[in-house]
Symmetry: C2
Subunit: 157 residues, 2 copies
């Protein structure tokens, strides 16, 4: 379980490199963000959160794992999945599944938004919910609670 703690706890920061000291959030900033979300800030969680919140762009679990291995030297793939589940549970990130991709992608944007898939690069771009208007005519017994949209296309150079 992930429980709130009044104060953070000591971490074995021995093997911490500071590849990100210059980009994204600092360890401290990430740490308090985790605490804010009720997540105990272990080293692995801080590092993964740092990547997810500051550096990554719609990464897959595999990409996160690869990055984390470089960063931490050694981490279990199970930890990556466990941590991602925890982050999702606690509302730090969301996950998306796309028809064109057999892997889940993780997204640090927590607002309601959509995605554009560049079919050339396979890269994802965010589409703000404000840039979209949807009108739907259905029999009134269909009560729509939410909808997902994925746009596919190319990006002109």
């Amino acid at each position: 379980m992930v429980k709130k703690t009044k104060s953070g706890f000591k971490k074995n920061t021995d093997s911490v490199s500071n590849a990100f000291s210059r980009s994204g959030m600092s360890m401290q900033e990430v740490e308090s963000k985790l605490v804010d979300h009720g997540i105990q800030p272990s080293l692995q969680r801080i590092k993964l959160a740092q990547y997810l919140l500051g550096k990554a762009d719609h990464p897959t679990a595999e990409q996160i794992y690869t990055w984390a291995q470089k960063e931490l030297g050694k981490i279990s793939l199970a930890t990556v999945y466990n941590t991602l589940s925890t982050f999702i549970e606690c509302g730090l990130i969301q996950e998306f599944k796309f028809p064109h991709l057999d892997q889940v992608i993780y997204d640090c944007r927590m607002d309601h938004h959509f995605h554009f898939v560049d079919t050339k690069s396979q890269r994802l771009h965010d589409v703000d919910s404000g840039s979209l208007r949807v009108q739907l005519k259905l029999p009134k017994k269909f009560l729509v609670e939410k909808f997902d949209i994925v746009f596919k296309g190319v990006i002109e150079d």
Copy 2:
């Protein structure tokens, strides 16, 4: 490969039951539909097409397999998947992947349409493309070629 043939060919119709003689298409109708699409009408293909085109409602491969086993007595799961691929390749059906489901669903509607997921029953309902209007404001370099929408909600009794 699936090649056009001038005429149909003999099938071992020995074990054919006619559970569907009263609903959906007849074997003959299905057979010519297959031929129209350049698909050699084997017994397995006819039966699966009969199910997909006339009886099934957004089935998964598993459901198709289960039905086919009852209908044909014996059929390989690989045949089900092979046949579905063939049907898709030849434009007889489409496949859809949904975020809420870990299996592909197969759809005999070939027009552009969308889906509504009833979160109570998990059942899918078709949404005609005409019942939807989407306005999108993106930077002009984003050239949208297509989009998928999935609506989620409940159906009032």
